[in-house]
């Protein structure tokens, strides 16, 4: 795996992400500064990590979407390259047009940090092949703006094309409003683009990859990606 982690000023889960990728893939990811205009040669995974890029001023992800490095990411994605955006990364991908929809303020209007359960909706994608379809995983969220919304037509397309990969649910896997942590449309926690090579998700799988954390449910995502890339190579 030759991962590249984008670093915008104000990004703060870059180290968490680098550690997770290092632990699971065994190779050190490249850290790519926002002012760069190209990605390192041979990059096979671009990760947009969590944080508060540019302070989240103006609107979450809006300024980062216009950073020089994002042109390179758009080119890379257009050619089918894998892109993973987590939390602020999801917001940035939406703002940059790589994913549809928008992340609004949480329904309860508060920042929320807690472990949540996600139902993995399908296992036949690079981003979910480390899991079984219907599997319930536990990972933390830490966000104030994670309430996914899009127009009805977009939501219907996402659902119809099976592009919702992760959904908030109860520990037993029940998707309902009680388990919908931030009020997202259709309890959406993570979606892919129409080609299936760009994933955006709010929760932080990178914070649940070590045994000593008491939960390693986040490993599957990264291990699946590593497997997928190994096969492709």
């Amino acid at each position: 795996m030759k991962a590249a982690i984008l670093v915008f000023p104000g990004i703060n889960r870059d180290r968490d992400m680098a550690r997770a990728l290092r632990l699971i893939s065994g190779s050190e990811p490249a850290m790519v500064w926002h002012a760069e205009t190209s990605l390192p040669a041979g990059t096979d995974l671009v990760v947009v990590p969590g944080g508060f890029s540019y302070g989240d001023y103006l609107r979450c992800g809006a300024i980062a979407a216009r950073a020089p490095v994002m042109d390179a990411v758009r080119d890379y994605a257009a050619k089918g390259g894998l892109v993973l955006g987590v939390c602020n990364g999801f917001q940035i991908l939406c703002e940059s047009g790589l994913l549809p929809g928008v992340l609004m303020r949480n329904a309860q209007l508060k920042f929320i940090c807690r472990d949540v359960h996600l139902r993995v909706e399908r296992s036949d994608t690079p981003f979910t092949r480390g899991y079984n379809a219907g599997q319930v995983i536990r990972v933390p969220v830490a966000h104030g703006e994670g309430n996914y919304e899009a127009d009805e037509e977009t939501i219907q397309r996402l659902e119809g094309e099976g592009r919702v990969l992760y959904r908030y649910c109860s520990a037993e896997g029940v998707v309902d409003e009680a388990a919908n942590i931030n009020g997202a449309a259709h309890s959406i926690a993570g979606i892919v683009n129409d080609k299936g090579n760009v994933l955006g998700m709010m929760p932080h799988p990178e914070n649940h990859v070590e045994d000593i954390m008491g939960c390693t449910d986040g490993r599957g995502l990264f291990a699946g990606l590593a497997q997928h890339l190994e096969k492709a190579a």
Binding site: P9, G10, N12, R13, R15, D16, R19, A20, G51, F52, Y54, G55, D56, Y57, K110, F111, I112, C113, R114, P140, A142, G144, H204, E206, N207, E210, I212, M213
Partner: protein, 736 residues
Amino acid sequence: MKNEPKITPELVAAHGLKPDEYERILKLIGREPTFTELGIFSAMWNEHCSYKSSRIHLRGLPTKAPWVIQGPGENAGVIDIGDGQAVVFKMESHNHPSYIEPYQGATTGVGGILRDVFTMGARPIACLNALSFGAPEHAKTRHLVSGVVAGVGGYGNSFGVPTVGGQVRFHTRYDGNILVNAMAVGLADADKIFYAAASGVNMPIVYLGSKTGRDGIHGASMASAEFDDKSEEKRPTVQVGDPFAEKLLLEACLEIMEKGCVIAIQDMGAAGLTCSAVEMGAKGDLGVDLDLDAVPTRETGMSAYEMMLSESQERMLMVLKPEKEKEAEAIFKKWGLDFAVVGYTTPSKRFVVKHGGDVMADLPIKELGDEAPLYDRPHVPSAALPVVHAREVMAPMGVGSALEKLIGTPDMCSKRWVWEQYDHVILGNTMQRPGGDAAVVRVQDGPKGLALTVDVTPRYCEADPFEGGKQAVAEAWRNITAVGGKPLAITDNLNFGNPERPEIMGQFVGCLKGISEACRTLDFPVVSGNVSLYNETNGRAILPTPSIGGVGLLDDFTKSASLAFKAEGEAILLIGETHGWLGQSVYLRDICGREEGAPPPVDLAAEKRNGDCVRGMIHAGTATAVHDLSDGGLLIALAEMAMASGIGAKLLAAPTSLVSQAYWFGEDQARYLVTVPETEAGRVLAKMRGCEVPCVRIGTTGGDAIAIAGEAPVTIDKLRTSFERWLPEYMGGKAA
């Protein structure tokens, strides 16, 4: 001086300087000060910056141990944790600003303490806080809780540091004056600690970070005066926080430190440019010439006076190695931060401020700090309160009902509503999340870990300042011990009322004596701290609240203990002596409606003996769950262990020698609950007898309830409902 107001007695008074303090200024400089100079004196000589009422008493605190690298007097304290690593930490208050503007007051409190830590070369790895609010039914409390919690989270979450622990309390004595105490902990290389003292003559002094605006002018002076009904009008003295700028400043500072560019560094906190420049010069035995025309400003037309007193946030002052200046500038430009040479060090030992070609201030730099007034204010000891005898306390309800009620009171209930608004998992090192005795944070990739806690019991301090001071330190020590940490050092944040009142000064002196004694006996020195006086409104003071932030070390964080029961059928042991002390207990206050009596005495020798023994059991792997006993005593602690695990407990009846409610809810100190596997119980009890540590078996884990022989059981479900209900309902506008 052109365009500056004339100095009048009214102007002097408006700067918080007493007539005799002004006389002192005249004598020191031999002439009338300029307006800018008057501002500088008021900034340097207010209580917040000069510690004029407290300095004399702070000298008695133990501050040394073989592992202390830097004690009080710098931006933060530094301790050695081995392997070339050091922990840098401090706690500081932001009380008055948080009352006036809770969100910004809290954010800048967190920002200020983070800056203190990374100024010394440490990367912040954890934050904690201690928040004291007024009575829930007070009209402003809900608004203040909401704003402060959002502010603490808003800054820490964006900056990217986990907020891992703290305290939240409610009491009517904080109605007009809440307390926001923020603690930051950072990790540095022990041989790469940075200090404020400038060195070398004619070295460029560099200004870094955000631009200077008109916010926060006289912030430190506001923190040195009492409040009244017009305090709202002080809103313009509250600064505005920008966590994004601080995150950039952190990365830029650590980068130029790493590249070896920095000789001296000082953050601009209270009293901004004035305090930081004077400190750098005075500590280095040098003068400083500042040219205000070079200071990056956010607004046009700022006067020298305004620039010298602005408390705009996210700013630093540095002395750089001249040959590295270009390299440092490039790094700051990369992070998009301002970089300007605003002055030079001089051999004159004068503090000279120029603006628009005029000399606006020319003062002796050492004397600005050293000659600040020093007061030995009159103090009277608090009157001793009578001991409340358990036999005289009528139980208004059964033990089970009292437990269910008590666990749902504002002080005892779950603070989940608060800490879920703080990112407590970022950086991926939080091994024990909020809700336990102490947070456990892994040091880099391990195996070392830090045990971190904040604690104080203000009602004890009010009832008996000496015992209360001891107890605050002992409880912080106990919290660290209960997770298996070796307690290393503390930071103290001393919040009191008006020191010009002898009874308040008496509380301060008493608490400090207690803190000193506990620190000495427990080998737990003070390495940093902050004093916040004048915490009173319309003549009513807060409860004396010396918040203690403790740091301990775990050689191997995988060998730490947590409070959740681990399995059914394990033996529950109570360590420490139980006399059933009800005076100042939450049972007496919240169940019987009596806030009275002497608080429990603290036997420091017993604390040490019992705690060392518990830590040994954790390290040996004998103890499966550990919890220290504090507010609410034995039964509250048991309930917390049960709720954390979902496993109940079957308990023997209270010993006949004690009144039942006093046994279950008394707050005797130096106690822990420990579980061990059934097969180990006999051996552990025998061993404890050998060490002369009081230890009795009180029951067995199991079931879905707290079941005391002869009493109606209380299910864990019921307890959890009561525990989790109050705060969300209150904040949702339902409960009072």
